[in-house]
């Protein structure tokens, strides 16, 4: 690019300013959390069960429940979301009827309040399907919640794959499915990774939807049909419902942030691996 004009320099500064501003606010929030909760963080905190309504002891069963709920949510949303994105990208025209209807449905779902998801999840998964208050019920509700954002992100990624590659695959005589599996999906891997990250973040952060589905029980779950308290629900209870729970709420929040960071790194690493192995880039 040509050498920078004064307008360029100002623009660059504005961009730096925006980014630094965002980092600063997050650092502020993180510092407040650390100040409140770092004292309560310890190896014991992560490995023992909660006592005294969560104000003492740890969060081990809650961590396990959270991981299970996230696992179900991502495990269900990924194949369904990939399939839907593939369908939108491969079989619908950009102005076509069916595609627009589905996209409308997705956008409508994206705007539904989380508490309505929770009430619906309770009525449909817990009561109608008979799953009761369970990790499975919570995970399925969360899967429904993260579908719109996952599908939209993956679809954008699929749409960005150079048409030439698809045509090349067809010229080589590859079937649709082969082209998808070996060329298109790997090429869209970064978008899939981004979609996974956004989905995981949304799922891990969810509270209202889980209170009515996976529930409040803080015991170590023995199966997916057990009720299990998610970390975000625990944080809510400790900060808003129990007197004196602030320190442990902050500590739990720090653990949750670390968990999401780890999950995000995993998602990016997996999608990068898919990209490089398949396309030898």
């Amino acid at each position: 690019m040509p050498s920078a004009t004064p307008g360029d320099r100002l623009f660059g500064l504005a961009l730096w300013g925006a980014a630094l501003g965002v980092v600063a606010v997050f650092a502020w929030l993180f510092a407040d959390l650390a100040r409140l909760g770092l004292g309560a963080l310890s190896w014991d905190f992560v490995t023992t069960a909660p006592e005294n309504a969560g104000r003492a002891g740890g969060i081990a069963p809650i961590l396990v429940s959270t991981l299970l709920i996230l696992g179900v949510a991502v495990g269900v949303a990924t194949p369904v979301g990939l399939g839907a994105a593939i369908w939108l990208n491969t079989y619908t025209r950009a102005g076509g009827h069916a595609g627009r209807r589905i996209r409308l449905a997705l956008d409508g779902l994206a705007g539904m309040p989380s508490i309505v998801f929770g009430l619906f999840g309770n009525a449909f998964f817990s009561v109608t399907l008979g799953l009761g208050f369970s990790i499975l019920s919570g995970g399925l509700t969360l899967a429904a919640m993260i579908l719109p954002i996952f599908i939209r992100t993956v679809e954008a990624g699929l749409a960005a794959v150079d048409d030439g590659w698809r045509r090349g695959a067809a010229a080589l005589g590859l079937s649709q499915s082969a082209a998808l599996a070996h060329i298109v999906l790997p090429a869209a891997a970064p978008a899939i990774g981004a979609g996974l990250m956004l989905g995981i973040g949304r799922a891990a952060a969810e509270t209202a939807a889980l209170i009515f589905t996976s529930g409040y029980v803080d015991r170590m779950p023995e199966s997916l049909s057990d009720s299990g308290r998610a970390l975000a629900v625990h944080i809510y209870d400790l900060s808003m419902n129990v007197a004196g729970g602030d320190a442990h709420a902050a500590a739990s929040a720090l653990v949750l942030i670390a968990l999401v960071a780890a999950a995000n790194l995993l998602a990016v690493a997996l999608s990068r691996r898919l990209l490089t192995r398949r396309l030898a880039l």
Binding site: Y216, R219, S223, L224, S225, M240, N241, G244
Partner: protein
């Protein structure tokens, strides 16, 4: 390949409910008020420790869910943070677990020591807008009210003789902790919360202060003695005759054996 694995795992885990359902005889499900839930949870854990093989599951969703679930059999026991309404009392029985007083709190920096009933009404209906009209500093009053349907609001309305549409508030809150945090963050705020929660906060250096009501000091002591005018019962409700396990649990929850748990949540054990 990955999808096959995931589907297999899901199918395997779905087999678990079939197996868990057989344990229904040793399981109690309690749902309802989030105010009572932490206490019920701790009592449940102690009950489980003393009765191996028994599981006590506590879920939240509010007092109205507690009532509804108990009425249609989705829960064994309901957690309700108020007295039963007459229509409910026809089919449900209430067993009081603890008492919870409700009192006004102001910011600790507010020099106002007490307010009589007329002043409270004036503040809450918006006629008095500034603390200096009650002998305090020149600061606008931030009135904090509770959301409709909550028993603390109804108690307050009943005591002051006001209707909710007459109240002019600058903030409406849901849970006690939200109320405490709102008052803590605003020197001109006044709100009403559970006495236990407020006492805990004061004891831990949070800058709020309880105001006496009707001349009676607001503390868990006066609630226990029955001299404090505003308190609500925390109830376990059942429909018809409770099952033997439920009956044992209720008896346990009302026995002196859990007194320390009740006090740890800053509620008041019911008078004997």
């Amino acid at each position: 390949m990955l999808n096959t694995l995931i589907s297999a795992a899901l199918l395997l885990s779905l087999a678990a409910p079939l197996h868990a359902a057989q344990a229904a005889d040793n399981k109690l499900v309690l749902t309802g008020s989030s105010t009572v839930a932490p206490l019920a949870l701790e009592i449940g854990k102690r009950f489980e420790a003393q009765n191996p093989g028994v599981r006590v599951d506590v879920q939240t969703g509010g007092s109205s869910r507690g009532v509804a679930d108990t009425m249609n059999g989705l829960a064994d026991i309901g957690l309700v943070s108020r007295a039963l309404k007459p229509a409910e009392a026809k089919t449900l029985a209430a067993h009081t677990l603890a008492l919870d007083g409700v009192a006004l709190v102001v910011h600790a920096s507010n020099p106002v020591k007490q307010l009589d009933d007329a002043q409270i009404k004036a503040i809450y209906t918006g006629r008095t807008r500034n603390w200096r009209e009650t002998g305090g500093p020149d600061r606008p009053i931030t009135v904090v009210n509770k959301a409709e349907g909550r028993s603390t609001l109804e108690l307050f309305l009943h005591y002051t003789g006001l209707k909710n549409s007459q109240i002019r508030a600058q903030a409406v809150i849901g849970d006690n902790q939200q109320g405490i945090k709102t008052v803590t963050g605003n020197p001109g705020a006044i709100g009403y919360v559970s006495i236990g929660a407020a006492e805990y906060a004061v004891g831990h250096g949070v800058p709020i202060r309880l105001l006496p009501m009707g001349g009676v000091e607001a503390s868990t002591d006066t609630v226990q003695r029955g001299s404090f005018p505003l308190s609500r019962p925390l109830n376990l409700v059942t429909r018809g005759a409770p099952s033997p396990l439920a009956a044992r649990f209720i008896a346990f929850a009302r026995s002196p054996a859990v007194r320390d748990l009740i006090e740890a949540q800053y509620f008041v054990p019911p008078p004997r």
